[in-house]
């Protein structure tokens, strides 16, 4: 493992940029930088259109809206309005767990699509949508609402999904929410989050005919931006409940539309994924006067810090509750760290994820004695990078919207012991012989949030890093060359 100095890192960035044409080099240079905790003004450029011709790892606005924000709301039907592919390839891949009977009162892992054909593009798909909506009502009478997630052609041909939704909503007496999240909007999935947040603001809050749900209490909180990947929201929720808070809604992992409608009555919004739900938090802060607080439930240090931060918004009984929870899990955490730290200490990690993880999981790795030597966001904005600077060590790499080529080159030179990124990167790096964890879907494991999650996190990292298979990684062509040499000798 090479420990690069600031100059060496700078040289590495220059070297990687060398292969690009002049214009592309200039553009990409702005997205790569070295972390410097002292300088807080200059940041990498982010949230810009990806370069044509490079392999980007980003998604689209539809992915941000249907896949991230709306999709996990389990008692609504989310129609992928347009050709069949977008819905099918994004179906159930994100592992947002939920309780309920799929196909009866929950629809999380199902794919509903209007399956556009050529004639729908030519003559418009409004009639098809309205027919589809009435079919949905007949086949799945227990659904609590529908959201119409537009795919690219809807915006291109100019269908009026708002009018159809309004008419159908009146007909069936349930909310039908049009979401204008066509994939071509914006530069990444980030705009999709924003559009989805705006749709919730416009169509869910203060909806006419919304049922009065629960009586508001003094300790009501909402979990925002936790998508319950592998059960994350559940392992977070128990900690909050143990300290005396009442979690009345979860956005949107294992969430329902009733929970969303109730959120404007809570006392505090707890925001986990800042990137995808800060919009609605800001709206609720302004309109309903609900403060919001960012928290981080990865690793015992950050969990304790966050529990105290959350408790500071409430009275002493909650503050005592927070201390009680921290003390209760301390022994368990000490055991986990005692077991795994010796096996993982000093290992270097490179991350490239989206949303909140490039900075949030740093604390969890540090608890295990590991060091994060490079991080970057697929679709982060300036404010994400500002928040990252203080969590990262000096002279570490920061890369925004990294291209496939850059990422590979960085890994070859920095030689991390572990990479955390998505499925598109997984097999490249595993073939290069570098241990890899998918940090989007927890590599089919999880939950990683909270104290219980940390135990699983530590076990998974150990399992990946210390797996004996990495010793047998010589590719066949190299292996045969070695054998030949031995034969000659």
């Amino acid at each position: 493992m090479a420990n690069l100095s600031k100059e060496e890192t700078q040289a590495l960035i220059q070297e990687v940029l060398e292969v690009y044409p002049e214009k592309a080099k200039e553009d990409r240079a702005k997205h790569l930088s070295i972390n410097d905790q002292a300088a807080d003004t200059k940041c990498v450029t982010s949230n810009r259109k990806s370069l044509p011709g490079v392999m980007t790892i980003r998604g689209c606005a539809y992915a941000g809206s249907k896949g991230v924000v709306w999709g996990p709301i389990k008692d609504m039907i989310h129609i992928s309005h347009g050709p069949v592919g977008c819905g099918q390839y994004s179906r159930a891949g994100r592992r947002n767990y939920y309780v309920g009977t799929t196909g009866v009162n929950s629809f999380g892992t199902m794919n509903f699509t209007s399956d556009f054909q050529e004639k729908d593009i030519v003559f418009g798909g409004d009639k098809k949508l309205s027919k589809l909506l009435s079919e949905v009502e007949t086949l799945f009478p227990l659904h609590r609402g529908v959201s119409v997630q537009s795919e690219c052609p809807i915006g291109l041909i100019g269908d009026d999904i708002e009018a159809v939704s309004k008419a159908s909503s009146q007909e069936m007496g349930k909310p039908v929410i049009p979401v204008r999240c066509e994939g071509f909007r914006g530069v990444s999935q980030s705009l999709g989050h924003h559009i989805a947040n705006d749709a919730i603001r416009d169509h869910v809050f203060e909806r006419e005919g919304a049922a009065e749900t629960v009586e508001p209490g003094p300790y009501d909180v909402a979990i925002l931006g936790d998508y319950n990947i592998g059960g994350d929201a559940w392992s977070s929720r128990i900690l909050l409940e143990e300290m005396g808070l009442r979690v009345v809604s979860q956005w949107s992992g294992d969430g329902t539309i009733a929970e969303m409608e109730h959120t404007p009555k809570v006392k505090l919004n707890l925001l986990h994924c800042y990137r995808s739900m800060n919009y609605i938090s800001r709206h609720m802060e302004e309109k309903y006067g609900i403060p919001w607080v960012e928290y981080n439930f990865f690793g015992p240090t950050k969990v304790a810090e966050s529990l105290r931060k959350i408790a500071s918004y409430f009275d002493d009984s909650i503050k005592e509750g927070a201390e009680r929870v921290i003390a209760k899990y301390q022994t368990m955490m000490d055991e986990v760290i005692a077991k795994y730290k010796p096996r993982l200490e000093g290992k270097k990690v490179m991350l490239y994820v989206g949303g909140l993880r490039p900075r949030h999981v740093i604390g969890a790795y540090e608890d295990l004695g590991m060091e994060v030597v490079g991080t970057g966001y697929e679709f982060g904005h300036n404010d994400d990078y500002e928040r990252t600077t203080k969590d990262m060590g000096n002279a570490t790499l920061i890369y925004d919207d990294v291209t496939g080529f850059e990422f590979e080159e960085f890994v070859k030179r920095v030689k991390p012991d572990l990479i955390g990124s998505g499925v598109k990167e997984k097999y490249i790096f595993q073939k290069m012989g570098v241990p890899f964890r998918q940090m989007h879907s927890w590599d089919y494991s999880g939950p990683y949030h909270g104290y219980d999650g940390f135990a699983i996190f530590a076990k998974d990292m150990d399992m990946t890093l210390n797996n004996p298979c990495w010793k047998n990684m010589t590719p066949p062509w190299k292996a045969s060359a070695e054998e030949e040499q031995q034969a000659v000798a």
């Binding site: 949230n47 919009y279 800001r282 302004e286």
Partner: protein, 70 residues
Amino acid sequence: MANIIISKAEDGGLTFYMPKKDLEVKVISLEFEAADKWGGELKLASGQSYYIDPMAAPSLPKSLRARRLD
């Protein structure tokens, strides 16, 4: 003219947020900060400056219309 939101930052200062550009920046200085006259020129940490019509000090966060000065 652009829609912006001014809110209180954790450190007690002000934060400037522009939803259209998803831009969150710290406010370095505000021309008028009195209770009856609040607003004027806003200087941002990013180097830009905006102008909001002076008004009675609002309760923050607040959506406002701002004009770019540079």
